[in-house]
């Protein structure tokens, strides 16, 4: 069999986290009784007029800036006409030939670049529930602002799609324009996919898989659809250009509509909305108050702070955790701080949602103070670890948990005295060590730690004990 490669492009819909809908003052809150976040504008009542939410323009431009897009200073809205019950007006207000943002990019870890064709703003449709031969419609989501991010056909594997989506998700969360909750549908994507023999320069016929709202389904759907197309071509058939749906139950894609019903949206300019103008000053301001983007943060953690790549990625994955880390690691050993966060703190935030939320029991300054004591040699790692656990339990700072004596450290003389006592008081263990049973050293170290309330440095004590035992 010939070798094939898959080629895919993505259209990603991201719900913006504005307080109100794109064209009216109804709330965008998720999960209420049906048709309670609605007004005559977002239910398409005759005679109503839309008015564009300023924040939607701002958020879309911020998304464009964060993905390296060119921002169009003049932009406009268009009507995309189609008749379906999720759209009460029988058209969606979207952007056709003058989107707000064009020509951006997202870099992948394998060195490849995914080119972003455009980012435009539009209104979300209502939600349909199919029951008993009827379709029930809830317009709460109708009119919620979306950005649609369209890429060039630059993907060559499902892994690349996943990494792109994760980066996009993290970027949008970091700049605060969307919470990107896939389970609530605030990030969904359509994949355009085709296959061709390796080495071929022309594109094969593509199919589009609609509305995937989980990474797992996306990966399964892409794998299935790639195989389906290859099998079809290898068995002498041809791929038909069509829209397909991924069925979660069967794990297969199925045809939704074919080319004969090809989209004909008869776009035309939305006459109820005026031109959108974005000024250079606005762009400069939004660029200036853009937070550090995930890829820059990752670079800083691995290069400047010398964190292992896996640790850095884990911190960067949760923007609030990363911010906490940055605050705690100011001027102290970053690896120490990272280890406390990824160890003790992560154990107390076991789920992804808890890490996202990052409701920390203690302020970052407390962890910073602890790390400073370790750096200054005032506190050994064992005592620091138990102190941090106590800190997390009680919410108290280091100064409340450790006495002056704890922090005084042990001078060499005091440590030597304790070690001598350990040897004198544990003759059995000493005999075992002399007989070659290294494990018995644990008993002596335990004695030393108990006597010093954990202040002794285990490494130094071991060296000293070995010397004493001879």
């Amino acid at each position: 069999m010939r070798q094939y490669e898959m080629i895919a492009g993505l259209e990603t819909h991201v719900e913006l986290s504005t307080k109100t809908k794109i064209f009216c003052g109804c709330t965008t809150a998720f999960g209420s009784e049906p048709n309670t976040h609605c007004c005559p504008v977002c239910t398409g009542m005759p005679g109503t007029l839309p008015k564009l939410n300023a924040r939607v323009v701002e958020y879309a431009v911020r998304a464009g800036l964060a993905t390296g897009c060119r921002i169009n200073r003049i932009s406009k809205m268009d009507r995309k006409n189609y008749v379906y019950p999720d759209l009460p007006k029988a058209y969606q207000i979207s952007q056709y030939d003058k989107p707000l943002c064009e020509w951006g990019r997202i870099e992948l870890s394998n060195g490849r670049t995914i080119r972003i064709t455009r980012i435009h703003i539009e209104e979300d449709a209502g939600k349909l529930v199919h029951v008993r031969g009827n379709t029930l419609v809830d317009y709460n989501r109708g009119g919620v602002p979306l950005i649609e991010i369209v890429t060039e056909p630059d993907f060559r594997s499902a892994d690349e799609i996943r990494e792109y989506l994760e980066t996009l998700q993290l970027t949008m969360k970091t700049i605060g324009v969307s919470d990107c909750k896939m389970q609530e549908g605030s990030l969904r994507c359509d994949v355009n996919i085709s296959v061709r023999p390796v080495g071929s320069e022309t594109f094969g016929t593509r199919t589009e898989i609609k509305n995937m709202n989980s990474f797992t389904y996306m990966e399964k759907a892409v794998a299935y659809e790639t195989e389906r197309q290859i099998d079809l071509i290898e068995s002498g058939g041809t791929v038909v250009q069509e829209t397909r749906r991924y069925d979660e139950a069967s794990g297969m894609t199925e045809s939704m509509r074919g080319k004969e019903d090809a989209d004909d949206y008869r776009y035309f300019r939305e006459p109820d909305l005026v031109t959108i103008a974005v000024t250079d000053e606005q762009i400069e301001q939004w660029q200036a108050d853009m937070p550090e983007l995930p890829r820059h943060r990752l670079d800083r953690y691995t290069n400047q702070l010398q964190l292992p790549a896996a640790d850095a990625a884990l911190l960067v994955k949760y923007p609030r955790i990363a911010a906490y880390f940055d605050e705690a690691a100011q001027g102290v050993n970053a690896r120490t701080v990272a280890n406390f966060i990824l160890g003790a703190l992560f154990r107390r935030l076991p789920t992804d949602a808890e890490k996202e939320n990052a409701a920390f029991p203690v302020p970052a300054a407390y962890l910073h103070d602890l790390a400073a004591l370790i750096d200054g040699g005032k506190l050994n790692m064992n005592l620091a670890k138990t102190t941090f656990e106590k800190m997390l339990d009680t919410g108290k700072p280091v100064s409340d948990l450790l006495t002056q004596a704890d922090l005084a450290g042990l001078d060499a003389e005091a440590l030597a005295a304790v070690c001598r006592a350990a040897v004198e008081n544990n003759p059995a263990a000493v005999a075992d060590i002399r007989a070659g049973k290294e494990k018995a050293m644990g008993a002596l170290i335990g004695y030393v730690m108990k006597a010093t309330r954990g202040k002794a440095d285990a490494g130094a004590a071991t060296a000293l004990l070995k010397q004493l035992i001879g």
């Binding site: 109100t20 048709n35 564009l52 939410n53 009827n134 509509r257 909305l273 005026v274 031109t275």
Partner: protein, 94 residues
Amino acid sequence: MITQEEIRKIAKLAKLYVSEEEIGSLTEDMARIIAFADTINAAADTQEPFDSIQSLQNALREDVVRPSYPQEEILRNVNGGEDGYFRTKQSREG
């Protein structure tokens, strides 16, 4: 010149059911409508464009929540709907 085939397509996209007898007269009507639009276009070429959406910019709204309508008010035109929803015939695809 608009064709009968185009009229059938437009009707289909608009989910309008048009009988074969109507096609001829609808095609003539549509031809007249388009001719009228052409007249306006030709006139627009001769003067300054009278286009408020071109000349106006940024009629924007602050992102401040206003109360939505009560559910029963929203559903009043459909006799109260069903369980808080609008109800339509089964529709798939799209």
